[in-house]
Amino acid sequence: MEDLKIRNKVNFIFSALFAFFAVQFALNAYAADNLEILLSKYPAQSPRSAAELSTQLLNLGPEAIAKLCERLDPNGESDDHAARYAISGVAKHVSNTNFSKNRGTVERGLLDAFEAELDPEVKRFLFEQLQLCGGNRSVDVLENHLSDPVVCSDAARALAAIGTKKAGKALVRALDGGANECKGAVIQSLEHMQFEPAVSELAKLASANDSLRTQALWALAAFGTKKAGDAIHEITGSIADPRNTGLANLYLAYAESAVREGNTRDAAEFAAEALHHEAQSQVRCAALNILADADPETAHDEAVIGLSDLDPAYRQVARSIFHEFHRPVWQTPEKGSETFDAEPAFRMLFNGEDLTGWRGDTDGYVAENGVLTCRPGGNLYTEEEFSDFVFRFEFKLTPGANNGLGIRTLPTGNAAYTAIELQILDDDDEQYAELQPYQYHGSIYGVVPAKRGYLKPDGEWNRQEVVVRRHHITVILNGTVIVDANTQLASENGTMDGRDHPGLARTKGHIALLGHGTVVQFKNIRILEL
């Protein structure tokens, strides 16, 4: 009796096991069939069917995805197309934040594939999928490959894309020991991720490891923290050779990162070093631009000096910074009339009501309701004298209008020669069709021609800004730079009109409106002395 019971039990167990395996076999076969059927549908013909196929694949579970990985042929010799479409399709599908709950299924499937020996090409393909949809679950397998010179670069990139603290820590660990060739990729990934805890390790590498020093320094420059800045300073000293563009750019890269971090003190310090020691145009430009973000007041002072710099690129940067600082706030027009809010540092020279502050042909000009009209008249001079300044005003031309802006003038005389005259002219009028280039609107009369084409039609108000600093004059009409010249250089081999212009040497004088017999109107006349 006991024997029979035991035998029955054993039979039962064997039957149960048999049934279990039979069912498993059937299920696997069913799954395998389903997988084959699914594979035959790739590539999907539309976004919707691609999503459907991915959903079906997800339902088959990570085992199915791992099975697909087995089909990958590194040399493209068997037809693994469908597998590639399926694997990449499902990785893309779960990379959508809305489907991220399914990411685990895909990651597990891909990671399981690594249990087998895989060809590097296959590994790279899988890392690429993890780069797109991987998370913390994938970090360990990726970390294991950081010392494999064949695929460490791809593994490091996937970790950088995953971007979590766990990924960062794995990368930092890989900096210790092992071959240099992989460390370069690891350093670059830490830089890409901006993984701040890596700074001390990177600093150690930069000090100790000759072959990785440059890479480690540049990686440090991507971090804008005080710690990174201190490390850079310690390792490089300071900028010794002004022509060492590489080092200057390293400092600028750090300063840029520091601005981003809000570490304005270090940013300003590094930017200032680059500004004062470097001779190359682009480095000075970048230094001034970064300084403008880190320390606007200092940058403004440098910009004022920069307005007359010999380098046109630097001058342009200086002007932009200056304009940012002293930006007029233009109101949107109501019924065609525009007003503006006076820039705080600018001083109105014309009070809008009368000719206080002006002398000369006061009968030829009339002030009314904010507008100063040349009736026509002759020359009207400011009572004050100015040296270096930014002068802003608006003017409206009538057909054939001809006037002029005198700069650093004497109280009398022909300002075009005894001082400097910036032409005010209705360029498109027929009578002016055959003039010399230096006679058109905005030109430094007789000396530097202005760019043409930026005047508004007659009867509309134009905005003009004139920057006068030492020998440099810039004229900006309706937002476009139409003159940007150093008058000394422009006249060193003689002036364009062939005449003497002693006024170019003057360093101080009045500002004048030089009427030449036509009606022109002015308003919002203001100045900022430099």
Partner: protein, 405 residues
Amino acid sequence: MAAAFTIVPRRALGGAGFTAPSEELTKAVIGVGGMGKGHLSYEGARLVAVCDVDRSHLNEVLEATERGVKGFHDYREVLARPDVDIVHIATPPHWHGIIAAEAAKAGKDVWCEKPMTRTIGEGQKVVEAVQRYGRVFRLNTWFRFRSEFYGFGTPTAPIKKACHHRMFGWPLKITIGSTTGFNWKFQWSGRTDLTPQPVPDELDYDFWLGPAPYKFYHPHRTHGTFRGYWDYDGGGLGDMGQHYLDPAQYFLEKDDTSPISVELDAPQQHPDAVSSFRRIVFTYDDGCQIVLDGEGADQNAAYIEGPEGKLYPKLESDIPNFQKKLDELPDLPPRITDFSESVRTRQPFALNETSAHRSCTLVNLGKIAMQLGRNLSFDPIQQRFIDDEGANRLVDPPMRAPWKI
């Protein structure tokens, strides 16, 4: 404090305001296997150097140019030369961003082939480098300021004028496809059956790949057919996209912004090889739309459709007396369309880094939608996707060390 000593080329000092200085500008062309050859003869600067990672391409060009032009293998040596003012970049797109940014940091002005950059992230970095380092940049597309606009049959100036003066109303929808004069060139598709081939002796394949992931060599990946692979470009969309989309962006006054949504209809894309799309629609915040009609489906589509009128190729319109009305409206102010003038005056070119980055972003938005196979929402200020981690990982993917931007 002592003023910094400045090394400024004599030609930059501007002896007489805007008249041509006596010293000419110089240029180097990087990438001379294909489009780069055309750059050799572009006016405005004298060629002093050429560079290519394929020795046979380099030698072919050196033999055909004047003596005195130097040949280089490594673009970094070109950027280090003080006698180069302007750098022309005609490599495949996966290199554009790195070389453009480094050129700016080396003090060079940049004339870059389209598409400007392979990714949105690189485009942002190029804009930053060009602007921070005080350089001027232009892209090698030109339809927004000259030439006949492909099958449309007229230049773009009258189109811009009409849109600016709201002759069609606002917002506008622009349709770009075979029925409105534009061919999407899907022949630039990649192959999915590549097998490893030996690298030719004259090609430095590792350098050619640069920042792109390592994949085994096959000639179809490189030179004349690189456009078929996501790693380097984006098929017909990558090739022609910026030419077609830049003027559209200009008409819609969107040079400083991007769409908020991208809708896609396309077959599933292979992970490596690019194929085609049927339809991509970009929608902006204000309702303006750009439709990329890959199949030529919209047989009767107007090129521009607005609430108050339509515009068809050859400047035909359903607005009565369209041409006469257009002629009566004032023209727009001029911009700089001669790159050497931009270089000398430091004023931005008509198609500069900002506008080019934004029109390239249209191309890259389309590419990301295609690769992922779904619609996307985009934040035009942050320049990142909304609620789409995968798409954001494609904005700024890590580059293969040691190359980085």
